[in-house]
Subunit: 479 residues, 2 copies
């Protein structure tokens, strides 16, 4: 079977992305407009993401639960900003069991309303707080233009919904979760992120404020990796959720919500991929090591496979190994295939290697000229070290790329010049006025990605209106 070519990133990044996702078997277009199918290889990446995040949520006291897919239309309308933000994107169920419904249901675009209708039932006393619930679920937000993983009508995500006795406690939760998202991005996905607060214009519909982590893709556009919202008492008011305080009064409950989605898979691909296809960080790779046995006779095959079996048995449990023993494909074809699929390490073992008790190892993050020969004696620690090195290396590459594509602009002309020729994160002064933010977006399509937490104060003039500003903020064109 002929191997298909992947468009070069420098020729057409968007087509490179589509080619890579489709040819690596990550996802496919569904017959339903705007929807995708997550294929087994892509879903395995999602499973590793879920496992890591779920462990972090549980280690910080969170539990999982499941709330209904359908939300009565009237619920969505109870919080004014929320309905305005989400109603236009909703899928609406009007018929069920062969009959028209009295009240239409929307398919959840996010679950604040249905969850807070339940919290109203569950919360009565300070002893019922905090509630720290997370849900792994599918959600629907209508899209006509599909971009696999990045923009689809249906996507998978987790949504945390917590309830607290005080504003401060909710704020601490918001920060704790953002730290988890940043930790996961950097230490599992090898994706460096900026941490900060969204501007009021960019915040979640119904939130007091939204915090986020933002990453830079290889086409120098930004991607929102995850968000953690302080919802204040907005949903408690909308659903009348109060609790008896320790001193005997009754207060409204404070809320947070937070989520990351299968969109992260798109980010992972666009941060690490190259012209050969995917490059997956070892911690999230479905196969960390692929072994390609090499032989030219049945006798050689038997010798080599015996060695490969022993090696696989040795690595099992500590390393995710795939053996590609397909008879119908040549070794070179297999090398290309697994490079395209981004497997971090490839081992090649032929009869001579068996005789010498060695294997040839190729790293996906290095060029083909850097193949090494390693001894099979005590190979497990060697492989674990190599995987850790690749994990670290991918992060460092991505960080270097982001730093090389982070700029400062001091005037609007310079700002536009950078946007036109370089893209990336452009740190510019902003007066804090929503009108300026909107004007920049209308004129250049760049948005303020966040107000970074660690940004130093610096006196300057707003890049748009020239009024005084205390801080630079990163602008970028974003997904």
């Amino acid at each position: 079977m002929a191997q298909q070519k992947i468009t070069k990133q420098s020729d057409d990044f968007s087509q490179w992305y589509i080619d890579t996702v489709l040819q690596a078997g990550m996802a496919d277009y569904a017959p339903v407009k705007g929807c995708m199918v997550i294929k087994p290889y892509g879903y395995a990446v999602w499973e590793h993401m879920q496992q890591a995040l779920d462990g972090m949520f549980k280690a910080t006291g969170h539990v999982n639960a499941y709330f209904p897919l359908f939300i009565p239309e009237s619920f969505l309308k109870k919080e004014a900003e929320h309905v305005e933000g989400f109603a236009p994107e909703c899928a609406v169920v009007t018929h069920g069991g062969g009959k028209p419904l009295e009240e239409p249901y929307v398919v959840r675009p996010t679950s604040e309303t249905v969850i807070w209708s339940m919290y109203a039932k569950w919360i009565d006393s300070h002893r019922d707080l905090p509630i720290l619930i997370n849900q792994w679920a599918n959600v629907v937000r209508w899209e006509m233009r599909t971009r696999l993983f990045l923009r689809t009508t249906e996507f998978l995500w987790q949504e945390g919904h917590t309830a607290h006795a005080t504003e401060q406690e909710a704020a601490e939760e918001v920060a704790k979760i953002l730290d988890i998202y940043a930790d996961f991005a950097e230490n599992y996905a090898a994706v460096p992120v900026l941490k900060g607060r969204k501007t009021d214009k960019e915040k979640f519909a119904g939130a007091l404020y939204t915090t986020c982590v933002e990453a830079l893709m290889k086409d120098k556009r930004a991607l929102q990796w995850g968000t953690s919202h302080h919802l204040g008492q907005n949903f408690a008011k909308a659903f009348n959720v109060t609790f008896q305080t320790e001193s005997g009064g009754r207060d409204l409950v404070w809320a947070t919500s937070w989520g990351v989605s299968t969109r992260m898979i798109g980010g992972l691909i666009m941060v690490h991929g190259d012209d050969k296809g995917l490059r997956l960080p070892p911690k999230l790779a479905p196969h960390q090591v692929v072994i390609v046995p090499i032989y030219y006779s049945d006798e050689e095959r038997q010798t080599v496979l015996q060695k490969v079996d022993a090696l696989t048995a040795e690595l099992k449990g500590d390393v995710r190994v795939k053996v590609d023993d397909r008879a119908n494909y040549k070794p070179g074809w297999k090398f290309n295939e697994w490079e395209m699929k981004g497997v971090p390490l490839r081992l090649e073992i032929g009869p001579r290697d068996v005789a010498e008790n060695q294997a040839v190892v190729a790293r996906r993050d290095k060029g083909p000229k850097e193949k090494q020969t390693i001894s099979l004696n005590g190979i497990k620690p060697t492989i674990l070290d190599l995987l850790a090195d690749i994990q670290r290396g991918l992060y460092e590459d991505a960080l270097k790329f982001r730093e090389e594509n982070t700029f400062q602009a001091n005037g609007y002309d310079e700002f536009k010049e950078i946007l036109d020729n370089k893209l990336g994160f452009i740190y510019a002064h902003w007066c804090g006025n929503r009108a300026c933010e909107q004007a920049v977006q209308d004129e250049t399509k760049a948005t303020i990605r966040c107000i970074p937490f660690n940004q130093p104060e610096e006196a300057g003039q707003c890049v748009y209106c020239g009024k005084p500003s205390e801080m630079r903020v990163p602008f970028a064109k974003a997904y």
Copy 2:
């Protein structure tokens, strides 16, 4: 806070079930008709079920993927029996993104049609087979009368959808999965099951044949625990899925599908529960051991909690331990609470126990008079043994119960008499005629649960029409 009473099983089993599910915090009614909320404690049971099953699926070569929630209405109509079976239960999306849709979407009641539309794209050669895909997802089948876990409009499940080159290979897959379901039921859920084939009347809409595992609840009604279907070439025909054979011809692909759902949680509750509430098998219990520290002064509290912390650290990783150190509740209240929630083992540790380096242990499967005192020296193996013993004991209790409630009926009067007074599984002869099966159901509400695989041949007369029959089949009233 006052503890609520649970209705006695013998007074009203159905109310006992509702009381138990609600008071143990397993699930709650959602504000959407027919829907439920799976609360954290219930969801944790589901997570343990998922983990065990997912491991079994993967160990037999299956991979997970994700297909869209929405299915174009026209897809459902492509397989005649399938649409007849499912269309009346569908929820229909008619509007999206603020506009009426050109073609309505149904919310998946099961995913054969959308999955086979993709397989048509993915399968071209015998080298693409088999496809062994499973999906963990939510599905919707319209229900007006909710029974938490047992009958809800939306429920969670897994659905496997496999594609094979031959009828025989598909048949082997069907059998392999049924074995997994039986293994899981008996060795994880401690629920003994009958394995067999459904009658044509009871088979899946669109299947060649359906196999199933069936369990008996404590109210002596049957519950279908899981099903594994041979779909023949029906969906391949409907979606025109053919492959090039090794000899160069083109054949239609053979299919299977199989699923178990959150309904199993209802079964788990109804097989093991008693008048105090849940009894959870250790392998699926969110907390396998609850430790209740007992103290009457701050000084005692410190001494006891120090010991409890050391013990928890010792057990961690091997045993799922919960420490109930809530200050506002008395020990007796906590004992009742955790018994109601079905925790297999309870450890009580007070100051005297600390001094003697011991703990009092109470088993949920035994009466309160059988409390023992055990040494804290080398307590881990003792606890693991106790848990294994409880796991085994629950299975044996359930098997004994099923055997005591399994009857033979030789005439229709005897059959009806048993149904009226005893229920349970009633083995009676059946001629194989659908009309007799339907008549029995219409007149008594009993259905044939399966044609058991291991049923010995025996000459007899059909319990309804008196014509010759070669085998008895188990009838029961079922959920």
